[in-house]
């Protein structure tokens, strides 16, 4: 029993790490820009596809094992650095003051467009590139074979992202500026802060996080059309459960969902699919604004 629980925890941690990487970008963007970005799932998918493409190119070189891991980060930076500013400048900056419903519709339309763009570029056949997993190799826990990628790298990157993000927002000038704009845009602007620039920076960073989530998922998953849909649905569940804009909440919720899912696979497999949503419903029944959320006063 103890061994089974340990195995469930190890599996849950790896899954939670991936979920967190995607959800944290979504919650960061909402926290600052107040836009629920449905296209976040597309950034995840494109990050995964670009990582797989770069990984395949790197695999053909002599330095393949050394490049296997850096290409994941490079893919995320590329996707975030190109798509983030493009989408923010051309689309989002025009709808910040509009109704949330319109924002949802615009980002949903973008999501649909990017889904087709993925099919145009990468086709519909599943794509798989697992050089990063192979580079790190397997490891045995008792009698069970795990991959080092799953057991160490994924949770490690997620933990580093969480700590790094908290440090950045609380300890650096740029981070404090972002927090200031989040709390009161008008006051921050009056103090001389360029809110538009903060929005651009945050959205680009959020896009990079989604792309990094996709890039990290790519070595263990086959990439098929619609891969972004599943992740965005789960991310919304995480963000809603955590409380919109709550980074620590996203980490805790991702952990709850990851552990809940893996425990379900071991002890009640029929609940595996619904566990994230059962957790969401239970939390929202008790705390309608999420675990870390709080009611927001409407300004008249």
């Amino acid at each position: 029993m103890t061994l089974l629980l340990l195995l469930a925890v190890l599996d849950g941690l790896a899954y939670a790490a991936l979920v967190f990487m995607v959800a944290v970008g979504l919650t960061l963007v909402f926290g600052v820009l107040r836009v629920l970005n449905v296209a976040h799932g597309s950034f995840f998918a494109i990050g995964a596809y670009v990582a797989a493409t770069l990984g395949t190119a790197a695999a053909a070189t002599a330095a393949a094992p050394v490049l296997a891991l850096p290409v994941l980060l490079i893919a995320a930076i590329l996707v975030g650095g190109v798509l983030g500013p493009l989408v923010e400048k051309l689309l989002l900056s025009r709808i910040y003051v509009k109704d949330h419903v319109l924002q949802l519709l615009v980002t949903f339309a973008l999501f649909m467009i990017l889904e087709d763009v993925q099919k145009l570029i990468w086709g519909v056949q599943p794509i798989f590139q697992d050089a990063a997993v192979k580079a790190l190799g397997p490891v045995e826990v008792g009698d069970i074979v795990y991959t080092r990628y799953q057991l160490f790298l994924l949770p490690g990157v997620a933990a580093t992202t969480l700590v790094g993000l908290m440090w950045f927002l609380r300890r650096t000038l740029t981070g404090r500026v972002i927090v200031a704009v989040t709390q009161d845009r008008e006051a921050a602007t009056a103090m001389g802060i360029d809110a538009q620039r903060v929005y651009l920076l945050t959205f680009t960073f959020g896009t990079m996080l989604a792309a990094l989530g996709g890039a990290l998922a790519s070595p263990t998953s086959s990439l098929v059309p619609g891969v972004g849909v599943n992740m965005i649905v789960l991310s919304f569940a995480v963000v809603a459960t955590a409380g919109l804009g709550q980074i620590e909440g996203a980490a805790l919720t991702a952990l709850l969902i990851g552990l809940g899912r893996s425990v379900a696979v071991y002890f009640a497999p029929e609940f595996e699919v619904v566990i994230p949503y059962i957790i969401m419903v239970l939390v929202l029944l008790v705390r309608p604004y999420g675990i870390f959320g709080s009611p927001e006063l409407r300004r008249v």
């Binding site: 849950g12 991936l18 519909v124 599943p126 192979k134 069970i144 991959t147 998953s221 086959s222 059309p225």
Partner: protein, 439 residues
């Protein structure tokens, strides 16, 4: 009753309009059309497009080949393709549009069983000749009788019974089994068929885990850990597409193949993609009597030319949806040609075509198949075990067995799920001898 001049004139005016409805349709003379329009529903988006797009590609290729040799009865074919991914309601709307606005003469539907279950009744309403080209559910012709629909392939019952018979042949002493299927209709239904058949043929097998990950799942690491801990003799998965590829790769990375015998009834469609990650000794099915290295048809010109043309254009080997599409088109062509001949060379009515298709026996890329009187197609089931060879950078099938329909398919008028409960161990011995892969 007195016949007035007005009544006589009204009757004369109404007669041409009324006659098609009064007379049986097959008595109405059919004019040879300038083209034969085919509506094809398939997945062009979403995860199932891994099957839908190869199916569409095969249709394009074969229709071109048919047209270059005179079409059907001298009539060229033209296809209109619709995406079934948005769902059944959308698909039904599109089918109506194709029938009523586009003047489609025949529908080729669909990949999803849910789509076929909805399209067949609509075909009756619209009197639209329909060939069910890929969907697997056995319920369609078991629960209803349709005049306007036939299926040019087998169904889920033989697709699941054949892998079980093959497993019983190569590993008859297995005692424990785990299943990892997608959590949707096919995953659940295929497991129900397997379980019922296994309980009949080999009672006492302990099912140690029934795992149904979310449809579209991209991570199976928890399931794999669980399976490593349980160590079942056999692991069954009827998954397909990207999910099967992911499961295979994650299982290979974690050496699960070394501990259990895998049975993957749909893995023929994944062989080229997963490559040598899939080890030797895995039991693989092809969902029918087809594979590009089919043991009895591989040297035939028809299959060789098709494989070559398909590879040349799409840079991939054909997989089972391409063969299913080929079966539908070859079946349709054979049906029309037989109906034209029976009609004295005149173009047949829709009803004549559909009546001819029942009982039709026709040649396709890898052999011949028959359509039963209830509309259900009968074809052997190709099973094999993976083997790595130099000629291909992915596994090929070895020790292939072509299970005949009378061993794996329930007879007309019976329900597949009831019929598999009557199977006996004798069925295992009645299978033909295996055919080894030859270079």
């Amino acid at each position: 009753m007195r016949l007035t001049r007005r009544a006589a004139l009204q009757a004369a005016a109404a007669a041409p309009l009324a006659s098609p409805f009064i007379l049986p349709r097959n008595a109405v003379a059919q004019q040879k059309p300038s083209e034969l329009r085919l509506g094809i529903s398939t997945f062009l988006s979403g995860p199932a497009s891994v099957f839908g797009v190869p199916g569409r590609n095969a249709a394009d290729l074969i229709i071109e080949q048919f047209n270059s040799s005179g079409g059907i009865g001298g009539v060229p074919l033209r296809s209109v393709v619709i995406d079934e991914a948005p769902g059944v309601d959308f698909l039904l709307g599109e089918c109506r549009r194709l029938a009523q606005n586009e003047g489609v003469d025949m529908m080729l539907a669909s990949i999803s069983s849910g789509s076929c279950l909805a399209v067949a009744p609509l075909a009756e309403q619209l009197r639209m000749p329909t060939i069910l080209w890929d969907c697997g559910t056995q319920r369609i012709f078991e629960e209803n009788s349709y005049r306007y629909s036939v299926r040019t392939q087998a169904n889920a019952v033989p697709e699941i019974v054949a892998p079980l018979l093959y497993l019983m042949r190569v590993k008859p002493d297995f005692r424990t089994l785990a299943v990892v299927n997608q959590d949707y209709a096919w995953g659940r239904d295929s497991w129900a068929i397997w379980k019922a058949a296994m309980d009949a043929i080999k009672p006492g097998v302990r099912v140690v885990a029934e795992l149904f990950p979310r449809f579209g799942a991209t991570d199976f690491s928890t399931e794999i850990t669980r399976l490593q801990a349980l160590r079942p003799d056999v692991i069954l998965s009827t998954s397909w597409g990207g999910e099967l590829d992911t499961f295979v790769r994650q299982a290979a990375e974690r050496r699960l193949f070394e501990r259990s015998t895998f049975v993957l009834p749909l893995a023929e469609s994944s062989l080229e993609r997963v490559g040598r990650t899939l080890p030797e000794g895995v039991i693989v099915g092809a969902r029918g009597d087809h594979w590009f290295l089919h043991p009895t048809a591989r040297d035939g010109e028809l299959l060789k030319n098709f494989t070559q043309s398909y590879r040349q254009r799409f840079n991939l080997y054909p997989i089972y949806p391409t063969f299913h599409m080929a079966q539908a088109l070859y079946g349709m062509k054979a049906g029309y040609e037989k109906a034209i001949a029976a009609n004295g060379g005149s173009w047949p009515s829709r009803e004549q075509v559909m009546d001819t298709m029942r009982g039709l026996e026709f040649q396709h890329l890898t052999g011949t198949m028959k359509i039963r009187d209830d509309g259900q197609g009968l074809e052997p089931m190709l099973m094999g075990v993976t083997r790595h060879v130099e000629a291909y950078n992915f596994p090929v099938l070895d020790q292939m067995i072509l299970y005949p329909p009378d061993l794996t398919m329930n007879p007309t008028g019976t329900k597949g799920l009831d019929w598999v409960r009557l199977l006996t161990p004798a069925a295992v011995q009645r299978a033909p001898a295996p055919i080894a892969y030859r270079a």
